[in-house]
């Protein structure tokens, strides 16, 4: 599978330092009486400082394993991993103070209150108690902070996980599926929070998600994974344009006849009711020329912007597990 790698970017303003760098990482899991499962297979990844970087791939594509390798929970079989230019897991203790993470489900003591759970983590990191209250406020949990964690709804648990990830005021925030279990309002708020953190520039957010819409809405850059490998990476706008999809929506007075002219001229078209979708058009002027020569005049000619889903499907040949999502 070809890798689309946008090295020189028109969207990119200034070159910045790498916050995360992964070179040729491999990880397989060995299980009793079963063949090893290759979770990450020669992955290369570069996340530059600032903004929000999406880590996109279907379930089982190696996103969470990569995050676990970066956080020292899982040992890579081979390859190099670096955070803030320090090799991990060797130098992880030196950089962990600047890294906040929420990996899959938040993990807290079920019988302790939300506040006590955060206080325990604050003790470990040397974070003042006032910061615990700030983070609880930030995720709108201050009123329920004294309640036991096990009594929280799924969304509240997720929000407490985000509060914990923010507790250290991290330079790098790694969020693995942070909107899992949240209601539409919660999803919107988390996405706004992520966008704001990315915009402010101090925190680089690495957002792992299998939700294409989420990545497209929130992220500045994206790495697409499939079967443990990178299949595309770069600024979102570039990945979209490099996907090779350039469709044009066309409306002509004589709908059927206009379509026939285009097909006769070698264009690939799809009937979309009262319009035609003309595929893979390198230059829209070619359409108007062909139609004008045949005596047809264009009423509408609209470039159809490619979406990440189309690019994703094209790159991975694999449908993501897009859950029905209520758009915020």
């Amino acid at each position: 599978m070809a890798v689309i790698d946008i090295a020189t970017s028109v969207c990119q303003s200034v070159p910045t330092m790498a916050v995360i760098e992964v070179v040729q990482a491999h990880k397989s899991y060995r299980r009793a009486r079963k063949l090893p499962t290759m979770a990450v297979d020669g992955l290369d990844l570069l996340v530059e400082q600032g903004g929000v970087h999406g880590f996109l791939g279907p379930n089982g594509s190696g996103k969470t394993t990569t995050i676990r390798m970066l956080l020292g929970l899982v040992r890579p079989d081979s390859g190099e991993l670096r955070i803030f230019d320090k090799a991990v897991p060797e130098y992880l203790p030196q950089v962990i103070a600047g890294v906040g993470a929420l990996v899959e489900t938040p993990l807290f003591y079920p019988r302790f209150s939300g506040r006590l759970n955060l206080t325990l983590l604050a003790d470990v990191a040397g974070v003042p108690a006032a910061r615990v209250e700030e983070c609880l406020e930030l995720v709108d949990l201050r009123d329920r902070a004294a309640d036991r964690y096990k009594g929280y709804s799924l969304g509240m648990k997720q929000r407490l996980g985000i509060a914990a990830a923010l507790l250290k005021n991290p330079r790098l925030l790694i969020l693995d599926e942070p909107t899992n279990g949240l209601d539409p309002a919660g999803i919107r708020e988390v996405r706004e929070l992520i966008r704001r953190l990315g915009r402010e520039g101090r925190t680089t957010v690495c957002l792992s998600s299998h939700l294409l819409g989420e990545v497209q809405q929130v992220c500045d850059s994206v790495t697409i994974l499939s079967h443990g490998r990178r299949v595309a990476s770069g600024r979102v706008c570039e990945v979209l344009s490099a996907g090779g999809i350039a469709d044009v929506r066309l409306r002509v007075p004589e709908h059927v006849r206009g379509g026939e002219v285009l097909v006769a001229a070698g264009f690939s078209v799809t009937d979309a009711g009262d319009t035609w979708l003309v595929h893979d058009v390198p230059d829209a002027a070619a359409i108007t020329r062909v139609l004008a020569d045949a005596g047809h005049f264009v009423r509408e000619l609209t470039p159809v912007a490619p979406d990440l889903e189309s690019v994703f499907l094209q790159l991975t040949g694999d449908g993501p597990d897009e859950k029905p999502e209520v758009a915020p």
Binding site: G126, E134, E137, A164
Partner: protein, 338 residues
Amino acid sequence: MTVASDTAVERPTTSPRPSLLRAESRRFIHRRFIQILLAGVLVGSATAAIIMSFQFAKTTPELLAQAKQQQEAAVAEQNGYRADCVKMLAPTANAEEACGPLATVNDYGDVTNFLPKHPYVFATGMPDLAVGVGAVVACIAFLVGATWVGAEWSSKSMVALLFWEPRRVRVIAAKLGTLVAAMAVLAAVVQLSWTAVGRLLGSARGTTGVPVDFWGELLATQGRIVLLVVLAALAGFALANLVRNTGAALGIAFVVLAMVESAVRALEPSWQQWLFTDNAMALVLPQGYTIRYLQDTSFNGEPTEIFLSHWHGGLFLGGTVGVALILGTWLFRRRDLT
């Protein structure tokens, strides 16, 4: 969610020092199960002390005189039965052989046996009390140790903690340090409290006089009891850390202590010197522990004796717990946590 807040990106100006030990101590204090266990120790101790206070009574001259009378009455009664027996004998019969010798007060032991309640003798009762209380606290310590790390695995909080302190050995060391300190303090406080209870019982319901070297020996025994409690807590921790589950750790402990050890005692008694309970007794009992068993299966002949010293008990228990802890920590350091 208050997305408009700007506080998220402001770094605090003054921060406390990062401290895993502080976090672990706070968690220990807040754990409901541990709070319940400690409350149980407190309530159980108070109840036992109250019950004991009703079982003993101070001896007075009046009570002693009463006891003496009862003792003499018992002797007289016995000799009355003997006289009836002698009357029924043939003249040629030997009365001594047929009806036994004349009873004396010496046959009925000490006069205090006829007191309604015994006095509490602090000098002889306290070491036994210390060992008994120590055994109960050691069982509780095992439970605390197992649940202390078992709860971490069941809630997966152990993994979450590694986002904050990735040095796994440090994480385990902080948990062990907290456990050891808490259990040592608990055992010492319980021993101190029961020494005070014993002393109070002695002064209110018995005697408090002690031999010259009493306090030194008692302190040494209590010190070894504190060590046993700490080792029991570490054993619970090590086992639960190996199997990553509190229930499984308790199940294994039950199988080993109740079933395997009983089987060893019945089938291969010479191996008793390598059993946990025998070594625990060797560690804490003031004179060590002597195992006695008959090698002859017909139960004839002299029993074989194996003496287990304090050192034997301490080294065996400490060594076993140490190996389990090192193995658990090594596995934790190497394991992928998914």
